[in-house]
Subunit: 331 residues, 2 copies
Amino acid sequence: MVKIVRFHQFGDADVLQLDELPLAEPGKGEVRLKVDAIGLNRAEIMFRQGAYLEEPDSFPSTLGYEAAGVIEAVGEGVTEFKPGDRVSTIPSFSMKNYGVYGESAIVPVFAVAKYPAKLSPQEGTAIWMQYITAYGALIEYGRVKSGDFVLITAASSSVGSAAIQITKAQGATAIATTRGTSKKQMLLDNGADHVIVTNDEDLPTRVMEITNGQGANIIFAPVAGSFIETLAKAAARGATIFEYGALSMETTPFPLFPALQKGLKVQGYTLFEVAGDPVKLEKAKQYIYDGLESGKLAPIIDRSFPLEQIAEAHRYMESNQQNGKIIVTVT
Amino acid sequence: MVKIVRFHQFGDADVLQLDELPLAEPGKGEVRLKVDAIGLNRAEIMFRQGAYLEEPDSFPSTLGYEAAGVIEAVGEGVTEFKPGDRVSTIPSFSMKNYGVYGESAIVPVFAVAKYPAKLSPQEGTAIWMQYITAYGALIEYGRVKSGDFVLITAASSSVGSAAIQITKAQGATAIATTRGTSKKQMLLDNGADHVIVTNDEDLPTRVMEITNGQGANIIFAPVAGSFIETLAKAAARGATIFEYGALSMETTPFPLFPALQKGLKVQGYTLFEVAGDPVKLEKAKQYIYDGLESGKLAPIIDRSFPLEQIAEAHRYMESNQQNGKIIVTVT
């Protein structure tokens, strides 16, 4: 028997429970991992709440996109990996079909990749969601280059820290925003060139100062809602605002007049556009491997919880205190 | 003395009045036209109402972007044109500084271009706004190509008819929408491959039928407001919705969930992005000259009014009965 995290109804973190289940066998095109570490994401909180892009077909439901572990068994037709391989999972599947929270996880082989030997399992499970998400917006679509100004909101999240690192790796200027002063030094330590404390400073004014009146070329923002109007004021002519998440339940306005005046684009984006496209994914993986190798990319681990404290770990993420990735260590 | 249309306050069409003014001399970099015909645009109605992207610095204010005429006088430094040249104006200036409604107009030389000899002045004043607007979105940014499905709303406007013609010239499929049945045949005659009557038919359902479930790749829409939610449902994966005007006073929502699920872009766009960039404008002009020459582009003139009926002409545009360009013939 193995412990698997499931929820039997939508709700707050307390709906997560550890169920003892028989060890499952991988089917065709699948592998089974003995899980060492799990990376937590906002997506799982929203999925648990019934507020995500997709919902479970039925209850109880598993959940979780990211785990690092060792392959224990492979299903029919799997030749890319063998038992004993140290891998982590790429969020290129639907949580309706697979979930990695637990001591053991079945995942499709296309969602499995080796991670660099120098990384621990905690680091290995902290790379794909954050770097593919930031890479897709900033590189695949945004083509960030030297001289660009990239405005990164919610910059202390794991994806935010990845966006700072990718911006710096491209030779561009990273402007991070945070609500209060408590995370300012942390964001500078993470590599941000400038940090705007939005409770104390006017965001568009500060961006215009930093960019000599030009504005930000790329804006990378998970929080939808009316804040987009403020972001549009800070945008340069022809800028793109990437909305990569839906953390606000508010209606998100389209900033029509600044968009017409400055030719702005607002682009909805999730990492599935890259993770679900084999050609784009291969380019992304190579970029991420190269960056991890050179040290320009290095995942920031905030804190680790044991599997038994999965609900506590979710509550901690919801409290927004973290800097970087929240991990659950299984073994 | 010459008759010039001016308004002395914001308001409905009745604020437009014909003022008798002394003939003005062109300044440095300017030319003076003896105006033969004027092309009307929504932008001028909004400018008159005080609801446009910019407002007059003071009253009385002139207005108008498009006129065809004959050059009468050139200012200092103008070598590109000489008196007697038959030209029309490109909306690449600010209405705060220039307006062409009248018997005579001063315009900057960069906003003047010859029009093909085979076109009448009424046709010559009906080409730049509509074709540059449609060209910029569909070609410069959208890169419409054979096999694409282009959804064109407000398709019976002059810009709408230009978008249908450019879509067809590129070998793509033009899907036009109209509210009632009265304009359906007209839009088919204008070249639309499909016409969706939105009062009677469900737009996303019809678009999915026409596109075999794929959706529209490019959506070209002047009317902002909540209609964008419907358009987003009709969009293909990775589609761009161009919002090229602000005809609705409603708040425009950003269609967040479909945008995240399908990677949609909503792009604010005005022709000034092309008209204000000499390199882009030159490419646009060449595309339009070639299209007019081959006959793939041919302006549709709805109706002509005399200058004395300028207020009537504005009211007619506001009534939305037209198919194509509304003209004022001066001489």
